[in-house]
């Protein structure tokens, strides 16, 4: 008897499912008809429920729906290291200053411009009196002192704290090495609204550095009370920025959706027009494109295969980033120690085809060591790249001459070189192209490509275990130094055994004697880049751009060259 029942249950189950799913398994089309029949009634409801978003885009309700490629790894400003974290920290928190649309620092929690002592070492900053945390506490000078100490404290285990503050804030390096007490850090609260910062040396770009996420304030009593739970989810966070972060919980029921909601307690709330920014994690480009087509999201990044399809439409936007890609040539090898060989390699790659065909996302050819649209000359306000122009361009004919001269000097007629690169799709495609270009233009050259995972590439880089390396760099602060200092002989990042006294001297002078002379200092950087390119120390390839599908009625989003990629504070929907 029991067994009969068991079969009855199975039968009923099966029969009930025939209706629901049988058609669906024949072809896609039949399945949809079926689904239509079953869901018609609820469909409109569903549309309403999740698609407030939908309606918003067209009614110019101030709601923006965007996608991110990954979850927020952390909302703890001391621990943040990546673009997504800095993006949402930048929207929900505010530091002393914030970057405006020209990438210049404007006051955030600070009340006006800083007062800088004559030697450039002491910065005194007044704070706004009406800035508050989301629990009602005022944002005080002590919040900055607490946050910065926490960031350099070895016990915190922060990566960016020491990286951003060592040799910048007085005693940060010593504290990080355990040679000084935490209280000796060069930051002090003179009163609730007056902050005094002592620098290790007069850093000329310190003003813009203060806009970076690592320098955000933290409410001491709240953070201490939360302990290890701090920043685990929305509940364990306090905000003082233009928006508050809502429904963010990486271990909650929906870890991949969250929102930014306008913070009515923000000191400048009347400037903020967006009521809500809804964020969903979408990892597949095709899914994002589908969501965009249906009007469910207002922005999604495009990969190369979609760029062709959308380039030229009003929804397409390409944003150049200050991220450079280049070939590092290890001058510890006999062949690459030869300047002619290096020049031949640097000049033989057709960079225009590389950006147009292989990358196809709006990336631009790079012919220098500093990207375009990054910093301006302090006096003439001309772009660094515009002043120095193209320093190392592709020229196959000249490349062949340099190649021959180099081979003669080495006394060989063929060379075999390794090319170390990443293992992502873009990287392998690009490295195959470079190999093809080099071997095609330089007779007698054999290039052996090794495509390895990121960590492995870094390990080989640190061990100087490569001939040529396909590499890239993003800036850490708004100053040409972030692009040039790493090529000095003593730099910890110098793994390619390049050394030029003139270059070292120019950079050294810029970072010591000329720290308080912005114009002369900038000229030093211009000169240093020329030396570097004349030596063909590196072979610049391209400056990356990112392609987006972007609803044309979304206006006023500011794109930042460093820190948070975007600022939504001034954004609105037409």
């Amino acid at each position: 008897m029991r067994k009969k029942n068991w079969f009855l249950v199975v039968l009923v189950l099966m029969l009930s499912l025939v209706v629901a799913a049988c058609g669906g398994n024949n072809t896609g089309n039949e399945g949809t008809n079926n689904a239509e029949g079953n869901t018609e009634g609820n469909n409109t409801e569903a549309n309403n429920a999740e698609g407030n978003e939908n309606a918003a885009a067209s009614d110019s309700e101030q709601v923006l729906n965007i996608t991110e490629a990954s979850q927020i790894p952390t909302m703890d400003s001391s621990m943040a290291t990546d673009a997504v974290a800095f993006q949402f920290l930048g929207e929900s928190m505010e530091g002393l200053y914030r970057l405006d649309e020209n990438a210049l620092p404007i006051p955030g929690i600070a009340d006006g411009e800083p007062e800088v002592s004559e030697d450039g070492l002491t910065w005194t900053i007044q704070l706004k009196e009406d800035a508050v945390w989301s629990n009602g506490d005022p944002v005080t000078a002590n919040d900055f002192v607490f946050a910065w100490r926490r960031a350099v404290d070895p016990d915190t285990g922060s990566e960016y704290g020491p990286f951003m503050m060592n040799d910048v804030i007085a005693n940060a390096t010593e504290i990080n090495n355990g040679e000084a007490e935490l209280e000796e850090l060069g930051v002090e609260a003179l009163s609730d609204t007056e902050l005094e910062i002592t620098l290790a040396k007069p850093i000329p770009y310190f003003h813009s550095l203060l806009t970076f996420g690592t320098f955000l304030p933290l409410n001491e009593s709240f953070v201490t009370e939360q302990g290890d739970d701090y920043a685990l989810s929305t509940e364990n966070l306090l905000f003082n920025g233009p928006f508050t972060l809502e429904n963010w919980d990486p271990t909650g029921e929906d870890p991949e959706q969250w929102s930014l909601v306008k913070n009515t307690n923000y000191w400048d709330a009347e400037t903020v027009q967006l009521e809500e920014v809804n964020v969903s994690v979408v990892k597949e480009t095709s899914t994002g494109v589908n969501l965009y087509t249906n009007g469910e999201v207002d922005r999604h990044p495009l990969s190369a295969e979609y760029v062709e399809q959308y380039a030229g439409t009003e929804d397409f936007r390409s944003l150049p980033e200050p991220t450079l890609f280049y070939l590092k040539m290890n001058q510890g090898t006999e062949a690459l120690a030869n300047q002619d060989i290096r020049k031949a390699i640097a000049m033989s790659v057709n960079k225009q085809d590389l950006v147009d065909v292989i990358l196809a996302n709006g990336s631009v050819v790079s012919n220098g060591a500093v990207p375009e649209d990054f910093t301006m000359h302090p006096e003439t306000e001309e772009d660094f790249r515009v002043i120095n122009g193209d320093l190392l361009t592709a020229d196959q004919e000249a490349a062949k001459e340099h190649w021959q001269a180099g081979l003669d000097a080495l006394g060989v007629d063929s060379l075999e070189l390794g090319l170390l690169g990443g293992d992502t799709e873009v990287a392998t495609e690009m490295d195959a192209y470079i190999k093809n270009q080099l071997e095609g233009n330089l007779e007698g050259l054999t290039v052996n490509v090794s495509s390895v995972p990121f960590e492995e590439r870094i390990a080989r880089d640190e061990a100087s275990d490569y001939d040529i390396q396909s590499s890239g760099w993003g800036p850490d602060y708004l100053d040409p130094n972030t692009w040039l200092e790493m090529w000095t002989t003593e730099s910890p990042y110098m793994t390619m055994n390049y050394s030029n006294e003139d270059f070292d001297a120019l950079i050294n002078e810029a970072n010591n004697e000329l720290l308080t002379e912005p114009v002369e200092r900038y000229d030093n950087f211009l000169e240093a880049e020329k030396v570097l390119m004349e030596d063909a120390a590196i072979a610049p390839l391209y400056q990356r751009a990112r392609a987006y599908l972007w609803r044309p009625d979304v206006q006023g989003v500011v794109f930042n060259p460093m820190g948070a990629d975007f600022s939504y504070k001034w954004a609105y929907i037409e």
């Binding site: 896609g28 399945g31 569903a46 999740e50 990954s70 703890d76 029921e253 969903s280 899914t287 249906n294």
Partner: protein, 309 residues
């Protein structure tokens, strides 16, 4: 029976221990660390960060600590999601994947069985051929292609169902269908072959001869005997669904464990990779146990525990 299950549970623990050990050492042979900005940090700073994760200890010490924590149900802290416990991350994602996988398995096998039965009864007719056609397509075309097609045609062109995300039942339809295609095809093929064989055997002839009606012949005698091989493939099928969820969850932006696994591999998130691997391993071993137990229920001829009962 109880003794048998206990014994198997014992083996399960041993298997899981071995898997944990192997994956631990395999992972240790790969590059990967919690450092996100390694190329920009000095060695001293790297050591400070690694210390926090206990990665400066020799590997055997790390191993003993890991197994010790594991015994207490602690999978450690994610390398990528700062301070988040791996168990917390996984616990909320497992039910989502389980739900999706279960829907797909139920719908897939049920529909597949029906197709197979229909094909077997109407052997060599158009019903048979079309059922066969459907299952060949289901086996040969990967699920993510179906997912992409469904998403574009049903979601975008017709606008009938939500394109992505998880939460409402409408959102579950397309991923379930995409994921169910494969088990459906497999079930249909097995069912057809077995059913044809069973329907040709002597006891069916006997059943018909003693005047049983056709329904009873088909479902009581035929289906029950034809089900055994299907139960055998259900285990591997459930496992193939696990790998299916990796892609399907990614495409439909479903916050399940498969999607988390892909992400953790991409970002070298050691502790999350270990956690998900162990979970998948546990699930696999558990499914095999269930299948073995089911044999005994469906086919009394198969005696568990050496046929003592």
């Amino acid at each position: 029976m109880a003794k048998y299950i206990l014994q198997r549970l014992g083996y399960m623990v041993v298997t899981l221990y071995l898997i944990a050990t192997f994956s631990f050492f395999l992972m240790k042979m790969l590059p990967g660390s919690p450092l996100r900005a390694k190329e920009k940090l000095s060695e001293a700073q790297q050591l400070i960060v690694l210390e926090k994760y206990g990665l400066n200890d020799p590997v055997p010490v790390q191993y003993i600590k890991y197994i010790g924590d594991l015994l207490q149900g602690d999978l450690g802290i994610s390398f990528q999601m700062k301070n988040q416990a791996v168990t917390d991350i996984l616990l909320n994602r497992i039910p989502i994947s389980a739900q999706l996988g279960l829907y797909a398995l139920l719908i897939g096998t049920t529909v597949g069985m029906l197709l197979g039965i229909a094909a077997a009864i109407k052997n060599n007719s158009w019903v048979d051929y079309s059922a066969n056609f459907v299952s060949v397509i289901g086996i040969s075309i990967p699920s993510f292609i179906f997912a992409g097609l469904l998403q574009y045609y049903v979601g975008v062109e017709l606008g009938l169902l939500p394109i992505a995300f998880w939460g409402t039942w409408q959102q579950a339809i397309m991923p379930t269908i995409a994921l169910a295609i494969f088990p459906m095809a497999i079930a249909a093929r097995f069912m057809r072959t077995e059913m044809i064989e069973v329907l040709g055997s002597d006891f069916i002839v006997t059943a018909r001869a003693k005047g049983l009606n056709e329904t009873a012949v088909l479902f009581k005698h035929g289906l029950r005997n034809a089900l055994i091989p299907l139960v055998t493939v259900m285990g591997p099928m459930a496992v193939s669904l696990m790998t299916g969820t990796l892609v399907i969850e990614q495409i439909f932006s479903i916050p399940g464990i498969g999607e988390q696994f892909v992400t953790s591999v991409m970002t070298d998130d050691f502790s999350v990779i270990m956690g998900t691997t162990l979970f998948f391993a546990f699930f696999f071993v558990f499914i095999i146990l269930i299948v073995d137990v089911l044999y005994g229920i469906i086919d009394p001829r198969i005696r568990l525990a050496g046929g003592k009962d």
